[in-house]
Subunit: 306 residues, 2 copies
Amino acid sequence: MSNIVTIGEILVEILAKEKGKSFLNTQELLGPYPSGAPAIFIDQAAKMGSSCGIISVVGDDDFGRVNLNKLKEDGVDISNVFIDKNLATGVAFVTYHLDGNRDFIFHLKNSATSKLRYEMIDMSIFDDCKYFHIMGSSLFNDSLIECAKKIVDYCKNKGIKISFDPNIRKELLNDNKMKEVLLYIYDKCDIFLPSEAELSMFIPGFSEKEALLNSGKEIVVLKKGAKGCIGAFEGKIYEIKAFESIEIDPTGAGDCFGGTFISCLNQNFGFEKSLIYANKAGSIAVSKRGPMSGNTTLSELEISLL
Amino acid sequence: MSNIVTIGEILVEILAKEKGKSFLNTQELLGPYPSGAPAIFIDQAAKMGSSCGIISVVGDDDFGRVNLNKLKEDGVDISNVFIDKNLATGVAFVTYHLDGNRDFIFHLKNSATSKLRYEMIDMSIFDDCKYFHIMGSSLFNDSLIECAKKIVDYCKNKGIKISFDPNIRKELLNDNKMKEVLLYIYDKCDIFLPSEAELSMFIPGFSEKEALLNSGKEIVVLKKGAKGCIGAFEGKIYEIKAFESIEIDPTGAGDCFGGTFISCLNQNFGFEKSLIYANKAGSIAVSKRGPMSGNTTLSELEISLL
């Protein structure tokens, strides 16, 4: 019974408490925070009022449970989240430089999520699905790539809209197989949600707005972080300025933006309103520490927009 | 040029700051602390004044570097510690119950150390070796088991004493292959350093002291934690009471005990003095937070014994 379905990594995040510290020194950390880009996305989409589900694997440990508790509490269907007995739930360590850049150390490729197999998935999760959201960060082994391709094909055949957020961190982009599957998904997606660097990678040779108008996609939304976003729909460009916000922790803001946007579309809020709500949700997300801590319900968001 | 050589996991430890908290809640943590049982052992053996080396693999990340910096600073030969470009350095998360028990979440089996192959090792590290120390916690895949067996055979042939600390946590003991290799190493070891539970596992059917006297080993030292230790050597039992200490963090205390004991033997301090020094070093280790933070130099240890 999920209108919006996503697939991919569920992990915990451990944050360095103080900015400007490398992991070369023992220091105060904060965590575990529930995390994983698709998990942040689907948590926010559910909080905004759509029926949502996620396909994933976690370990049989408290890092898995802290995520499942959060997702369940926020209304996400976790019946397709499986428990692996051998591998621990993934972990991302994040430390912030004084200039706002982040350094990561990941235990992800080798974590429980890596054990997802297509055969495990109960495809009835797609029975009421209108939007399937997939992110590049989730495609880190052959089995996950197979899942992604098969589900993209399945959704394409059933007329389920495919929403694609490349979400590729340099740490995760290290082989040609991944590039191939990114292009495979890009070709089939209806909704494309890139960052600035990703837009020029997938639609090269154009200026920003030309790229947005010439994509051939139903919807493209360029996420520009603190500079807002630009959307293209039915041959028209919508430029939305960012809302003011004090940045505490940007991790997850793009996923929160995407979750809000797709959840608004699913509730027929219209393109421009969906963009504005997504922008506002992203600005709230960066003001809270922890990847999902700044996720908001629809009513919280509407109050903040008054 | 190492008199004492060990092999095995190098990892970082992340500690829950407050006791009595599970990992189900976001909380203050402390880390990364350099860790890994063989790393703690060899760091302490080197601080005590013996020439020492370790064979291991770390990731190409700050968690690897924080360990290598510490080991190098304390005089350990790290020329046989290799860098794996694909897997991150292992992580152990530890939280303490109010009753002193610990809960762990590990990213170890799937970490950089898992990539150690026998062919990588420069066996000249054993040219001046008198003691090879090996721990059960390091035997978590086929390749590491192969390394252990081949080095044990090599050392046996060369007359290098084999020191064996079973050091098996319930989380790590989950297959028969591991039990087989533990018995293989036990059969060939000269020095056996079990905990109370491990003594009855390897030498069943005896009382404690009978087991110590009937092992057929050159040296057996039973580590009893806060209750001190009992050693058996040349048919005689040596019972050493624990030194008083305020326990802050017991992780690594047994490894520090072992490192001190073997380093003292290597410096010909005699059996009883080596036991007393090891006991004292263990009591200091538990009084400091962080697995290697309580490691002591020989002069620090001698001052504390005045």
